[in-house]
């Protein structure tokens, strides 16, 4: 089948099998580097993308699901070579060491802050529960998100 969707603002068309995952299409067919394969079962969060603004594990999303929708990877958050606020906060807080979990972490942070601009610590911990980090450590990541939390 032929699927057509917006990837980071650009329309793409690609052939996919009905059983292909979005992750497979992004990596193998479209050569996207900003999405990582980790566990393949929705535990690690390295493959997270936003579909119409909501976070999804691309390893658990069938390619057909995104037909006609908008997919955003971490690369799509930057504009004209300028990093987004969240990406800058991760840099400033040293929240990426090897970087493997970073795309998923940043997109979950975005999804959280979009619907809850001032999350509590509990809410940040819970939002990140589906994203594993094995080297940076969670503290700098949580600090990066907290630095963006709008306290009123």
């Amino acid at each position: 089948m032929r699927i057509k969707f917006k990837l980071d603002g650009e329309v793409v068309e690609v052939d996919a099998k009905h059983t292909d995952t979005l992750l497979k299409i992004l990596k193998d067919k479209l050569g996207v580097g900003a999405v990582h394969f980790g566990c393949g079962e929705g535990t690690c969060g390295a493959c997270i993308v936003l579909v119409n603004g909501r976070p999804r594990y691309s390893c658990l999303t069938l390619a057909g699901y995104v037909d006609g929708k908008e997919v955003t990877t971490v690369a799509g958050l930057a504009h004209d070579g300028e990093l987004s606020e969240i990406q800058k906060a991760f840099l400033e807080n040293d929240a990426a060491q090897c970087g493997y979990c970073t795309p998923g972490m940043i997109l979950i942070a975005k999804a959280l802050l979009d619907r809850n601009p001032s999350p509590s610590d509990e809410e940040i911990f819970d939002a990140l529960a589906g994203n594993l980090c094995r080297c940076t450590g969670y503290v700098p990541i949580i600090n990066a998100i907290k630095s963006l939390s709008k306290k009123r």
Partner: protein
């Protein structure tokens, strides 16, 4: 009607979804949120000729009317949590589905079909005496959730039926769900317990529903313990007594790398006692 070729179908109506399912039966895999169904494909457990995605079927809703809560089968956990007046056990189970992405993807209906360690929502729904609404080409059927599981991955559903909604009538006045996971914020359920309870004016148990999750492929109601508690005034001694008979020796409890069956039995008892002791505190 023309031959359905292999492919991905996202019917826009329930009627179309049901008629596809009727024609294709076991050749088709129904996908709601995808968190379990897609793993069947990627782990090569299933090779469906056809995917029927329910993403466009309008089953994503929560309605509370009087003492009836109705939840559309494809309602994701995050949507469920937007409702303020949910029965407590259901809210607790939903809040503790870990992580934003999983909360957005996993659906209430999907949770009912997914074997352990999934099934937190199902465990809570069992303790709320929920009813499942199934629709097929020959009409609608309401099945008490406690009569839905027939064995591991065997359900009281026909090949042309689709689970469309879950109804809770007269939710118990008290209800609570607790689970144990390897980490505080994540990991699969090792064991869970959920209890729904109505007390009469003498503080005696009038209606008791006890559900245990994580120990077997699907959660189950513990009728023996429900009968034992009904009509009695709950005390810590009585709760202790009930906990001893919570997990029957005949139950074949899951044993895996995460936890022994002995540990799962003990944890289920601990959670059950915690819930009831919180009720009487």
């Amino acid at each position: 009607m023309s031959q359905v070729t292999s492919g991905y179908y996202a019917p826009a109506s329930l009627r179309d979804a049901i008629s596809l399912k009727k024609r294709l039966r076991e050749r088709a895999l129904i996908v709601a949120g995808g968190t379990a169904a897609v793993q069947l494909i990627s782990k090569m457990i299933a090779e469906p000729e056809v995917i029927i995605s329910l993403e466009k079927v309008p089953l994503d809703y929560v309605k509370v009317q009087g003492n009836v809560v109705e939840i559309g089968a494809t309602t994701p956990i995050s949507r469920l949590l937007e409702k303020k007046d949910l029965p407590n056990a259901l809210r607790e189970a939903a809040e503790n589905i870990h992580g934003l992405a999983l909360k957005d993807m996993a659906t209430v209906g999907g949770n009912i079909f997914t074997p352990a360690p999934a099934g937190d929502i199902a465990t809570a729904l069992l303790s709320l005496d929920a009813t499942l609404v199934l629709r097929g080409t020959r009409g609608m059927r309401a099945v008490p959730f406690s009569k839905f599981y027939r064995g591991p991955l065997e359900y009281n559903i026909k090949a042309d039926e689709v689970l469309t909604a879950i109804k809770i009538r007269r939710a118990p006045g008290l209800s609570s769900f607790l689970k144990q996971t390897p980490l505080r914020y994540s990991g699969p359920t090792i064991a869970s317990a959920s209890v729904g309870l109505d007390l009469d004016k003498d503080k005696k148990a009038r209606r008791v529903m006890v559900a245990i999750g994580g120990l077997t492929t699907h959660p189950y109601r513990v009728k023996r313990v429900e009968r034992f508690l009904t009509g009695k005034r709950l005390t810590s001694e009585l709760i202790e007594e009930a906990a001893k008979q919570l997990v029957d020796d005949n139950v074949d409890v899951i044993e895996d790398a995460l936890a022994s069956s002995w540990y799962r039995r003990v944890i289920a008892q601990v959670l059950f006692k915690k819930i009831l002791n919180n009720f009487i505190r």
